[in-house]
């Protein structure tokens, strides 16, 4: 005001108005949680999913119980608890919901309202990732524990504690729980990259479920590609049968954990970087 400024100086950092509290990341997480919770489809979808996955394990156990005169081996009980029917459904739903948490907002245009309210776009994506991760870890734990308990009741005389002490059981339970948040975050990254609802759901479903069967395990390159995907890694981690040998290349347990560990941060990084770079 007191000195004339012939050349425009670089814009200073935005001075916060006197009444503005510090921007807190927790507020964004709370906002994203309100968005998730306030959709009527959310409780319905989760409720149906829990019933379906645990139901699938229960029916599989009832069906297989007669094949074993005594108590079925631990590996069989784990296979029945974490049945592909139930858990491929979990993978499909968690991946799609994660994808829609971003792509849906682009589809409706709400993302523009969100971005005007919160110009820090990367933080919005991180907040979405936190909500999806927590929501799906909880849902994954619920369905995995429920399936595990149900199968032990049916096939193991309800000795749940004993079953948990069996080799490989904690690993399988953890892998079954965590597959849901891993898929949700993978979907979130794909959603942020593609932004178009239908395309996002097709690509997410393909990457999670349709692609693995196309990648045979009898050639190195194709097996490597397959083993970098989430569903085959889940399959390996819940499988506690001893390796029967044969011509097929099997994923390793550490390699499968590595897939669980690497996909989420890679997907979230893609989401944060793309929304920062692109126009909304």
């Amino acid at each position: 005001m007191n000195a004339p400024a012939p050349a425009a100086p670089p814009p200073p950092a935005a001075p916060p108005p006197a009444n503005e509290p510090r921007a807190r990341f927790g507020d964004l997480v709370a906002a994203e949680w309100i968005k998730t919770r306030s959709l009527r489809s959310t409780p319905w979808l989760l409720g149906l999913l829990v019933v379906f996955v645990i139901g699938a394990a229960t029916f599989t156990a009832l069906d297989n119980k007669g094949d074993y005169p005594g108590i079925a081996p631990s590996a069989q009980r784990l296979r029945d608890a974490f049945t592909p029917l139930g858990f491929m459904t979990l993978i499909l739903v968690s991946g799609s919901v994660g994808a829609l948490s971003v792509a849906g907002e682009y589809g409706s245009g709400l993302i523009r309202t969100t971005t005007v309210a919160v110009p820090a776009r990367g933080s919005v994506m991180l907040a979405k990732a936190v909500v999806q991760a927590v929501l799906w870890t909880a849902a994954g734990l619920l369905v995995s524990a429920g399936s595990f308990v149900s199968v032990q009741v049916i096939m193991n005389g309800a000795d749940v504690a004993g079953a948990l002490g069996e080799p490989g059981a904690p690993r399988a339970l953890a892998a079954a729980t965590l597959v849901a948040p891993v898929c949700a975050l993978a979907g979130l990254g794909i959603g942020a990259l593609l932004r178009h609802v239908a395309t996002t759901v097709v690509v997410t479903t393909s990457a999670l479920l349709l692609l693995p069967p196309f990648l045979a395990e009898d050639r190195r390159w194709s097996a490597d590609l397959r083993h970098a995907l989430i569903q085959p890694s889940w399959e390996r981690l819940v499988d506690t049968w001893p390796d029967g040998g044969g011509p097929f290349l099997r994923p390793t347990v550490p390699g499968s954990w590595a897939v669980y560990v690497l996909w989420p941060p890679a997907a979230v990084a893609v989401a944060v970087l793309t929304v920062r770079r692109r126009d909304v």
Partner: protein, 342 residues
């Protein structure tokens, strides 16, 4: 001046199409500034650039001296309604607003306050998907008001509103400006801004055509139209056009009227008398702001039918297109009028 919107040499290109072309203007607090331009003129793109939703190809847009996107949270700085449809239909109005408020650390009572303010209190718990467009516009205005911001941007807020809604919006915008806020309001219809705006920023094809007060803008509308009621519209049209006037039919069957520009009322009366044509009405009508706007943007309207309303209502002789004409000037029309008035 913390609340000024400053647009400086702003440019946005999509491939080889220039949507906003070296646009510079300033929007000040305490006034309603109308942002006027035909469809496709670049109004929405400009608003999106101001809000940091898009990156400019060149130039800058600042709000309160800084790019808006430099604020980590926006609602306390700028409230904006870009497109009322940009909501999730599955949420209730209250949940939609609460999520926005919560992310900005605003208290929950603000949700009730803004819903009261826009008259949606009784619809708070209803799903947005069931709202009419007018209700969605009100919801969008409510969202813009959440953070009690000093700067407000509205992109065609009265689209889909009924007459009561339009009047309510106009009063609200006037009040917000009277409270000392910066109110920037886009429209493609002059009529919407005529009674609301204090100043106008007019653009066409991404370029600035005018930035001035409504009064100054109205002064451009110098051309006068004479309305002639006659049962012999075709014959009179032929006579008037032969004298160099531009004639547009108006009215309805059985009550045909002609809107004549380029000839004064006394001349028209004299011509009618000489040719023995009956005249029932002869009224001089001051050109409206709408006419000034049409005239100014006639050459820059992006979508236009040749000879259609956009081209024909322009008060230039014969209504023929003359693309080389500079916007806002009527140098071709001038000699005709002078000749006849003399």
């Amino acid at each position: 001046m913390a609340d000024v919107i400053e647009v400086d040499e702003l440019t946005k290109k999509y491939g080889d199409k220039t949507a906003v072309d070296r646009l510079s203007f300033t929007v000040r607090p305490g006034q309603v500034t109308g942002f006027l331009g035909p469809n496709g003129a670049g109004k929405t793109t400009t608003l999106r650039l101001i809000l940091g939703l898009e990156r400019p190809t060149g130039g800058t847009a600042r709000v309160g001296g800084v790019p808006f996107a430099s604020h980590p949270r926006g609602l306390r700085h700028v409230g904006a309604l870009l497109d009322a449809q940009q909501v999730h239909g599955g949420r209730s109005a209250a949940a939609h607003l609460w999520a926005l408020a919560r992310g900005n650390g605003l208290p929950r009572r603000r949700v009730g306050e803004v819903l009261d303010e826009v008259g949606l209190a009784r619809a708070a718990g209803r799903r947005i998907g069931g709202f009419s467009l007018g209700m969605k516009q009100r919801l969008g205005i409510a969202a813009a008001l959440l953070g009690d911001p000093p700067v407000l941007l509205f992109d065609e807020p009265v689209n889909g509103m009924d007459a009561e809604g339009v009047r309510w919006t106009r009063r609200l915008l006037r009040r917000l400006a009277a409270e000392g806020r910066t109110v920037f309001l886009s429209s493609h219809l002059m009529g919407e801004l005529e009674n609301t705006a204090d100043r106008l920023v007019v653009i066409g094809q991404g370029r600035l055509l005018a930035a001035e007060s409504v009064r100054e803008f109205a002064a451009r509308a110098g051309g006068r139209t004479v309305v002639v009621g006659t049962p012999q519209a075709a014959e009179l049209t032929r006579v008037l056009v032969a004298e160099g006037a531009a004639v547009e039919p108006e009215g309805s069957a059985g009550a045909e009227r002609l809107a004549v520009t380029g000839l004064a009322a006394d001349r028209i009366g004299a011509l009618a008398l000489r040719h023995g044509l009956q005249v029932n009405e002869l009224t001089t009508r001051a050109a409206s702001l709408e006419a000034a706007f049409m005239d100014m943007t006639a050459d820059s309207a992006e979508y236009r039918t040749p000879g259609g309303p956009g081209a024909a209502e322009r008060p230039s002789p014969g209504g023929r297109p003359d693309p080389g004409r500079a916007p806002g000037r009527r140098d071709e029309a001038e000699p005709t009028r002078k000749g006849k008035d003399a």
